[in-house]
Amino acid sequence: MVAYIVRRLVLAVMTVWAISVLSFLIIHLPPGDYVTSYIASMSASGSAVSADEAQALREQLGLDKPIHVQYAKWMGLILQGNFGMAMEWGRPVADVIGDRLMLTMVISVAAIVFTWGLALPIGIYSAVKPYSIADYAFTLIGFIGLAIPGFLLALVVMYIGFAYFGANVGGLFSPDFAEAPWSPAKLWDLTKHLPIPAIVLGVAGTAQLIRIMRSNLLDELRKPYVMTARARGLSEYRTIMRYPVRVALNPFISTIGYLLPYVVSGSIIVSLVLSLPTVGPLLLKALIAQDMFLAGTIILLLGVMTVIGTFLSDLLLMWVDPRIRLGRDGR
């Protein structure tokens, strides 16, 4: 068990490191740096930036040092909890991102809860009554759910809300609460706005999980022990829920490791369509303004949050699956 935790932890740390290098690369890939795009935007608005000023700005931001020094400096600052300045905003990155990063995770987790809450009963039903009309209907809906990219679904939902109900279904807060400090009323407002983004984000994952749950459980139900249980007169409910479902659940839970990055990834683009106050719109803005420092930090933090989530799900899997708990890694 300890070996399993250590292995997962080492992998998580390595992943974080890989993400940090990739984020740093993204910051430095574009031919210009922040100063060049700053000069461009200044000259577009009519005021010029002299070469001396540009040089001073570069030194101030540490952009004149060799690349590995910049990486070390960046990492050092981040480890101290200092994420630097969001240049365009003139505020610390932590300030700009803080709430938005948390909301991104709230939406992602809500989407996963929705995914599981729906996929589990439907998967069980489809396996218990295979080739029934409902099973075919779910399979069809599942296929379509897989084929529609999240942002298209978001567009359609927005369109329906706008065209038929005359309401803006986007956003996470009512206008009254958008800028208000956190309070129970604001939390309740958030809860009311959460279902639509959660459903939009969760549909593709749900479709996939239904298929996994259905085929796992179908395999289990064919096994002799189920027949034994039935022959002994166990009620149908107990026969199915007691053992086959629990066995079929394991591969189901282990998919969360891949589900979380997938949902977080999708939330970025869905947020843009539904105008949710997550890091998505911020990331796009930063990338377009070539504020790569802010963008890199967002990508890094998103990655780290995802890794932490995945690690937690691994611990959950360990708690559920005795094969892992007892030291025989089933995977």
């Binding site: 993204i26 296929f143 942002f151 927005m158 369109y159 706008f162 803006n168 997938y262 683009i269 963008a295």
Partner: protein
């Protein structure tokens, strides 16, 4: 994943006559796969749809009837036009020419059909000149109008904000989006087969390292990463440079699933007797891999490849939709959908969402075909 489909398709029909059984006994592996695939109706349907899509991609300039980049402010945001198929009882399709005016109250442009005039619509008629297959001068189009310019009279799917014809743009977008899937999956395949093969055949430390790399790549949220990489591309690159840069970015992260499949097959095949036999008679490693092992899992690779393409198409569409992938003047499904970003504009002109239908159909068709190939290749998987 598709065990349900497998179960319904795999079992060779029981009522096959004895003669047919003989036929099965001597059939090659590919014939068997084809026979099983044929029974999977959804997969066959998907394949037909995909062939149609690629025909459109290949002959986009024939299916389009005007230049997709020709813009005209006087024709912005026209609604899809009705074609009248029958003229006085006979099959003579025609359209009414449209006249654009401004609504004096809302200042919105409105288009009124001129019901007194008829413009005949012809199939395979003459239109704008183009180069068929890139080198044969031609001017025939699938749809053309007689006695008028198509760009002024024909608007099958309406126009966008710049007055460009959506039907023609959709045809060219199909070319870009459908080929980007192919090019990108080809790159992923090379990476996946080499790394997955090395990982599965040699095992040991190499295997561990490659598996860890795959696990790391899979636990990173891809869209932010793609966005970052795509935004880092110089904005002054040409359409062709952007096209290849985007395919490379997408395949750099997309190879992991293919590598996983290849590795799994290598590991299970390595224990087969015929591989051991080949080793004992002293075959070289290359010969064992390419002569003995590869032929027995090519079909699996084809299935995995087919199933990887829809994800790539969605990725490209998403990136271009955000404005970080292909950029105008390039035309792809994602670029077309950029116009649909503004929800108010979409409510006024819902036809801007039509390219989404193409995306969904293509993705579904690839999924059905991929599932069918996988089930046919190995019904017991």
């Amino acid at each position: 994943m598709a065990d349900n489909a497998a179960a319904s398709v795999a079992s060779p029909a029981l009522d096959v006559a004895v003669a047919a059984e003989d036929r099965i006994a001597v059939a090659t592996q590919w014939q068997l796969i084809w026979w099983r695939f044929r029974k999977h109706k959804l997969a066959v349907g998907g394949t037909v749809v995909l062939i149609a899509f690629y025909v459109v991609a290949l002959f986009a300039d024939f299916f389009a009837y005007v230049d997709p980049t020709e813009s005209e402010a006087q024709r912005s945001l026209m609604a899809p036009q009705d074609i009248h198929w029958f003229d006085e009882g006979a099959f003579r399709p025609y359209v009414h020419p449209l006249k654009g005016t401004r609504d004096p109250k809302t200042f919105k442009r409105v288009y009124v059909p001129d019901t007194t005039a008829k413009v005949p619509v012809k199939f395979f008629g003459h239109g704008d000149p183009y180069l068929f297959l890139g080198f044969i001068p031609a001017d025939r189009h699938l749809i053309a109008v007689e006695g008028a310019k198509a760009s002024e009279t024909l608007f099958l799917l309406g126009t966008d904000t710049h007055g460009r014809d959506l039907w023609s743009r959709l045809m060219y977008a199909t070319r870009t989006s459908m080929t980007i899937g192919l090019v990108s999956v080809a790159l992923s395949l090379v990476l996946g087969v080499i790394l997955g093969g090395v990982s599965g055949y040699f095992g040991g430390t190499v295997d561990t390292v490659i598996q860890r790399v795959i696990e790391i790549l899979r636990s990173i949220p891809t869209i932010p990463l793609w966005m970052g990489l795509a935004a880092a591309l110089p904005s002054d690159w040409s359409v062709v440079q952007m096209y290849f840069a985007i395919t490379i970015i997408i395949s750099l992260i997309g190879w992991t699933e293919l590598a996983r499949v290849v590795r799994g097959r290598f590991i299970s095949l390595k224990q087969e007797d015929f591989v051991m036999a080949a080793e004992l008679v002293g075959c070289s490693k290359a010969r064992i891999i390419f002569r003995h092992m590869v032929p027995s899992f090519v079909s699996h690779i084809i299935a995995a490849t087919t199933l990887a393409i829809p994800a790539i198409i969605i990725s490209e569409t998403s990136l271009s939709f955000l404005g970080l992938g292909l950029r105008p003047p390039a035309i792809s499904w994602g670029v077309l959908l950029q116009d649909a970003q503004n929800i108010q504009a979409l409510v006024i002109s819902p036809w801007l969402l039509y390219p989404a239908v193409a995306v969904i159909i293509a993705v579904l068709a690839f999924n059905f075909m991929g599932d069918g190939i996988r089930d046919a290749a190995d019904p017991y998987l």
